[in-house]
Amino acid sequence: MAGRWKNDLTHADVTPKAAFLNRRQVMAGAGALAAAGGIGGAAWAKLNAKPSQYSISEEPNSLQDITTYNNFYEFGTDKGDPARHAGALTTDPWSITIDGLVEKPGEYSMEQIMEGVELEERIYRFRCVEAWSMIVPWVGFELADLLNRVGVKPEAKYVAFETLLRPEEMQGQRRQFIDWPYREGLRLDEAMHPLTIMATGLYDEPMPKQNGAPIRLVVPWKYGFKSIKSVVRISLVEEEPHASWNQLIPREYGFYSNVNPERSHPRWSQAKERRVGGGLFAQKIPTLMFNGYEDEVASLYEGMDLINEHF
């Protein structure tokens, strides 16, 4: 009887109920989208992202929360507008123009960008400048990997990003309350930081359109608006680039926009936040410096005045 198979599985190996319920939700969502003519079933294959040491252990928000409560002004200013209107967006084919101070500039198709990329799951805190927050299980890869592949020239100091401009499909862009396309920027060392990722999915599925499909930036220690969605251009530049909110209301939205409970938004306090999904009686929780990523990123800003100058 030697070598007889022994069951070494324990209860811990059983898929947790929350996880399989969530999968059902994903499948239901996929079905609904497919029925609406949005995405074919095949596109909803699992991404098999690997776990990461950078993930936090807090319970992520439900897929429902993450996909129905969004700021994506390209589809309207109401939190429900992206879920209602983002279905119109064509995300395949997609390409990103990488230009400026790089060794290999060019227009890279999504397939080229994803070539040889190993996807990781990054469960991050996500803190909106409007004082609400979520926990999101992103899937993506480090931006540094992409930048190293195209070769950053030594003169480059900043990275500029641009969202797609396509008012025919993005109805919010038909009104000029923001100087479209939406733009954002990072200092090169911020862009190269291992926490900074280009995300192509969440909950181990391809990125829902309302969350910035097919590829978006995620910088977890900064307010959410820095994490630009549906990226079509990445430029390596020497000067601090244009950032949409910073340009629109410089007094309220700084270029850095690091999460900082000490630095109030002129119109509201940033000391506390409310976790979305907590129901009608959810209490606010204290906001953490750098959104809880202080150990990892505080050294990037040593000696800088983060309250009055570089907020």
Binding site: Q64, T77, F177, I178, R267, R274, G277, L280, K284
Partner: protein, 216 residues
């Protein structure tokens, strides 16, 4: 009016305004006190069972505040509506004013109890955040109006004083509109439309000296 035109208008079929007036004449004002609070209750129940939004506190706050402002603006429209279209809704005006007050009070309560919920933070917000200061000022102006929206107080104040007091509606609605513009992250279309409506409805009440001179 000359007899001839009166006869002619009598011969014509009833206009839209007259038809609406005939219908509203049969509708008692108390119906509004029963019907108009219904959305407030439904939204609260939805917020409670989690079907309203992933962020029910913010959602309730916005729904109550926005409907409150809409009802206030509708109240402002009653006089111009009678003047320009002959549609007469004056008998509903008290109910409409009080229902606006109800929704704005609920909006404030959600903010006080569910949203901020901390006395120190509430006071800091009122003092430090201009959009909250302005909203609060608008609410304070509405309190004497709600307080005097009953027959006893109308008698006590007399029509002239009462009318003068109720002109506070105008600054209150203006403050509400500004509060709505200021809380958005950017120049959103919706608050702009509300404010355009408010300014228009207030402008219709201005008495231009030129006009008075020409009438004299």
């Amino acid at each position: 009016m000359p007899a001839g035109t009166l006869a002619a208008s009598r011969a014509k079929p009833m206009g839209v305004a007259q038809r609406i007036n005939a219908w509203t004449r049969r509708l008692p004002a108390w119906v509004l006190y029963v019907v108009m609070p219904v959305p407030a209750v439904l939204w609260f129940l939805q917020a409670l069972n989690g079907t309203l939004s992933s962020e029910p506190i913010r959602a309730l706050e916005h729904l109550y505040g926005e409907l409150g402002l809409q009802i206030l603006i509708f109240g402002l429209a009653i006089t111009p509506l009678r003047r320009f279209t002959k549609i007469d809704l004056v008998k509903f005006r008290r109910a409409i004013g009080l229902m606006a007050f109800l929704y704005i009070t609920l909006h404030l309560l959600v903010w006080l109890v569910l949203d901020v919920g901390d006395l120190g933070d509430i006071w800091r917000d009122i003092v430090k955040r201009p959009y909250i200061t302005i909203g609060m000022a608008g609410f304070l102006l509405l309190i004497p109006l709600a307080w005097t929206s009953n027959n006893r107080m109308v008698r006590k104040l007399g029509p002239i004083k009462w009318r003068r007091l109720h002109k506070l509606t105008y600054p209150a609605v203006l403050l509400g509109g500004i509060h709505f513009i200021m809380l958005a992250k950017t120049w959103n279309l919706e608050p702009m439309l509300y404010n355009a409506a408010i300014v228009l409805l207030l402008a219709l009440r201005l008495k231009f000296p030129v006009r008075r001179a020409s009438q004299a």
